[in-house]
Subunit: 355 residues, 4 copies
């Protein structure tokens, strides 16, 4: 449905258009770009430099206090295509969070779901509904929709990590609810292993049952953290068995579904010297480089990447990852694919001519 | 998370903010309105007048040709809160479609799903993937995502109806695909009863099975039309059995779910002289008045309503309907509730103090 | 796995066999018939004559009192292949129940599910968890597992109907629980239309929703009766649209599934002069002739049938129905197919050479 | 519904009873025991001694050849309550399978599902649809319904293990199909790790995805073996976190459901000196002792148990396990609970007064 092809120099038509505007109607035949042959994305292919993120994160840590009862110290990736909105893609927020030594970010909850991905460091615990989860390099930590969460740093050194949230989506759907935590008390609990892991990380297909164990939550994975050592081991096996383009999907061990209803989390290892088959999917993605250097090509735009880099992949844009050194390239991605699958709009394809 | 409370007159901070802007980052602590206590809607409570819709529809019918291979003659309801976008709410498109006597709107398909609701008239057939469905007063006709659809008018008189689509949602999710029909041939098939009804409208809980009958489609109701006479009969029974605030939900007879994955369709009968309990839900709604007159209150804004009126209910806005004459008020509504339910963001509540 | 092919005249072997018997072990290699190429049924193809059922039912009505707090006056179809058990097939009980004029069968509930199919008469109400359901010719009435049910006859004339239960299955699975009703009071409520129908028989795909309406039960169809007039209308449409071998399946209108988790109910109309394609399925079936006369062939055994006849179809037995008069043949069937589907053992096939 | 309470010395009644018998009907009021207040089990609480199983297994190995193309060398546990049938419970078959050094049991498949549980030894591979799975002490190996399976011993020593199948259930449902393998060739493939493990045992919530990876099978767990080292590790964590009566359920890592649609597999560790809370459930169970000694009480019958013992728990029978030595008691159980859950007949309870 493009622009109509007739010339509408007609006073009656002009009068109609004026009357339509008066009563808040618009003639479809004068609208263009409503139904396009393929998705057209507003977001741009983009990469934020890890080095720069760390540098400004450090400065923010020194300059900006984190008041008690206050906010998070987060630098949000703002995709230049999105008209000034603090969003990495139309549906995903990505930001670098900085917590000073011994600092504390108080409890709150909100309908947007969040996850943390740790580029480096350790010593911070995130409490999810009171369950203390240690955060360390390569770990993925979930704070699902409406779960209370707070962070505290047990060390003297600052720590930074990547936050990804579905804030733009939930904001678009006008379903944001937010509350501060029930208590002003700072909760500085720690534990070597979260309660979530004690029950749900016993191994593939090993599920404890007992009278007094609660049912897994209906809305998200009961396992709230995926440890790098497990992920790394799994990637190693995977790299040895699947020819190419295999990814590791983080899933709900109680149901096999995505970890949260709005975000799909995956980790891809591109072996040294290899390039992935170009792939595209409806909906957008945020990527984060954990290990290795190489090249990222999004819709023809080429970016060199290194650990700590964050990038945005717009909907239906071809994506290729190349590991160009002797080291494997490990890339974490978050997408809105579960949303699109739930409402039957998910499509994906590979560019066959590549090899 | 409101605006930070510290005064940031600090040259170092100014330098940081400038550097952040340079590398497309935004400091969360300077953003306000990201996480609100409750949903804040951009859309306004709004009502479009049926009389005006018909009047401009008639004029458009006289002035604007519908070229072969071309578009639809549709007037789109543009909510004044949405910055000029041709959308009734952030997720829903509503428009009046006009088809002249003997006119034909050629086949196309698109990922946005559509439905038709008929205020008056008859004599137009919509073909959905070739199945001819007659459209008449009070009927609800589905053209689910990616089904080919075309309309033709067998009478000499123009006909108008309400279109509702999830175009804003699918556009936001950057998942619009569109194709014209496979053939230039005008298909003017008619049938007294669609194939969909022959199989799926045999009665509640009566499902034919046979070797050569296809499985119901995975993504939407196999029943593509809900006839007014059936709806009216059901509303009559319902009004006699449920005390108040009962609605009739149009559902997939093969699964009991909503008719399409993105839109919930309901019809509510407010008995003469009655007022509904104020109700609100996350996500937005479009309403259409089929019968009766009365008053509509949305978030405190009062509108008188009559047959043919169309209205928009923003997210989390209190809605009340009052039938003020001796006639029952019949209101058809479409909402995005299935989307919110699928991703676990649906909430609703009733205002208890009312009676 | 047939009998082993070696000669076992060996004293050591004899000693082993004796020792095995002593400690309750059996050598698999001496067992035959455990794993057969195809299902071997113990039940026989069988037909009980409606005339005879009615005649002995009448006599039982005259001779056998139905004590208060006591039992049901039921004559159970005992398949001759089942060693004297009162079962029509290995999984299904079928019996003729007789209720005298003004008589009353008191409330009880049990884990076996039951259904009633009415060959003739009217004037009895079955109360299912208190909801009064009138029973008349051609009606299918459900009394799902663990629902309280009682029957009372409002007329002076006796009434008889067919009961089908999953008693043999639940007995085999050693899961029978039984309790008498909570009250000694005779409940003689009647209603022109059951509450179940008021809510769930509003039409295909028309589902009422309201604050105070309970969720449909998790375990069975909320619609507890399927009326003959609706079934008859649907069969008429079906006969006009599907070439042959179409059946009408009674389904849960809230979910589209079978009416109860253990029994599939269907009605088949064989048009006058037609024969069905031979068909077989794993699991057994009970059939009942409502209208018409003809011939039934089960695994090569031929039976003439007329209204009121009841028959048993063993697992994996070919079944053909022929309507041999000018009248359509209407046959109701109950099978255990939902059980087999749930545990992935259901198979069916048609004999292709037939036409 | 017990036996009727009236005296039926009545010549007319005698005549009726004779006539009923002639036409294969039975009067319900003369039947007793059809609907009991609670389940009544035919099976007996029973324990087979591991020492005896091994002793007769060894003798069978020496005396009974395993012909090519022939059977399995299996000793079936025959519950004395089941009238001579070779079944451990009404729904479950349990047998000790013996394979000589370098011996081979050829491929076949059948609709009954099977699993293997290994008490001791190693060196045998089971190929499931060609995927070689090594069997060693404490491992659980699945051969789901209709998968081809064969066993071969790579060592010079015999090996024995426990087979559990749902043969009685599938036989009762008259749904047994059986075929020998497609090839006469002996397949002696081995692999350090099965393909199933390479993909599905990467860790809790870690699922590989790739273009060329097949979807998990619809009917059973894609993970075909659960290794003792993983189970043991998980039991150790579990024992440290859950107060008592925790069991480890073997689940489908792709869906979180039971490993097969007919059998639930669990492993319970009773810490040294502890006794479990008495528990009962509808449906029957087979147990096998892997480690430790103690006492088993089933419906009041007490049995001392030691490694290698196999036992049968009838439906709705109270079960208690006590570990009476300094060693933990590890007990593997198989039940038909998934069948009962699927058809909504599953109930369970704990005896509260115990501690």
């Amino acid at each position: 449905m493009g622009t109509r092809r007739f010339t509408d120099e007609d006073p009656q038509l002009d009068a109609l258009y004026a009357d339509l505007a008066d009563i808040d109607l618009q003639p479809l035949w004068r609208l263009s770009g409503v139904l396009t042959g393929e998705p057209v994305s507003r977001a741009q292919p983009y990469r934020w430099r890890g080095k720069q993120l760390r540098e400004v994160g450090d400065r923010a840590g020194r300059l900006v206090p984190l008041d008690k009862g206050g906010d998070r110290r987060v630098l949000s990736c703002a995709n230049p295509g999105l008209g000034g909105a603090p969003y990495a893609t139309p549906t995903l927020w990505a930001g670098l969070q900085h917590l000073d030594g011994h600092e504390y970010a108080p409890a709150h909850h909100h309908t947007p779901a969040a996850l943390r991905f740790v580029f480096e460091g350790s010593g911070v615990w995130t409490l999810v509904d009171g369950d203390p989860i240690h955060m360390a390099r390569g770990d993925l930590v979930l704070t699902p929709s409406w779960t209370f969460h707070e962070h505290h740093n047990t060390t003297a050194d600052p720590m930074m990590w990547l936050d990804v949230l579905d804030v733009p989506l939930v904001s678009y759907l006008e379903s944001i609810f937010y509350e501060v935590g029930p208590s002003d008390e700072v909760n500085r609990r720690t534990a070597a292993r979260s309660a979530a892991e004690q029950r749900w990380a016993l191994g593939a297909g090993l599920t404890p049952v007992a009278r007094d164990l609660p049912e897994p939550p209906a809305d998200h994975s009961p396992l709230l953290v995926y440890r790098w050592s497990d992920t790394d081991d799994a990637l190693r096996v995977l790299a040895g068995t699947v020819e190419r383009d295999a990814r590791l999907r983080f899933t709900d061990p109680a149901r096999g579904t995505d970890v949260m209803p709005t975000m799909r989390c995956e980790m891809q290892r591109v072996p040294a010297g290899r390039t992935t088959t170009p792939h595209r999917q409806t909906g957008s993605r945020v990527g984060a480089v954990l290990n290795g250097t190489g090249t990222l090509v999004i819709a023809g735009h080429e970016f060199d990447i290194e650990p700590g880099d964050v990038f945005a992949v717009p909907s239906w844009s071809w994506l290729t990852l190349a590991s160009e050194t002797a080291e494997d390239l490990d890339v974490f991605t978050v997408s809105d694919a579960p949303v699109l699958e739930a409402i039957r709009l998910y499509r994906e394809e590979w560019r066959e001519e590549q090899q």
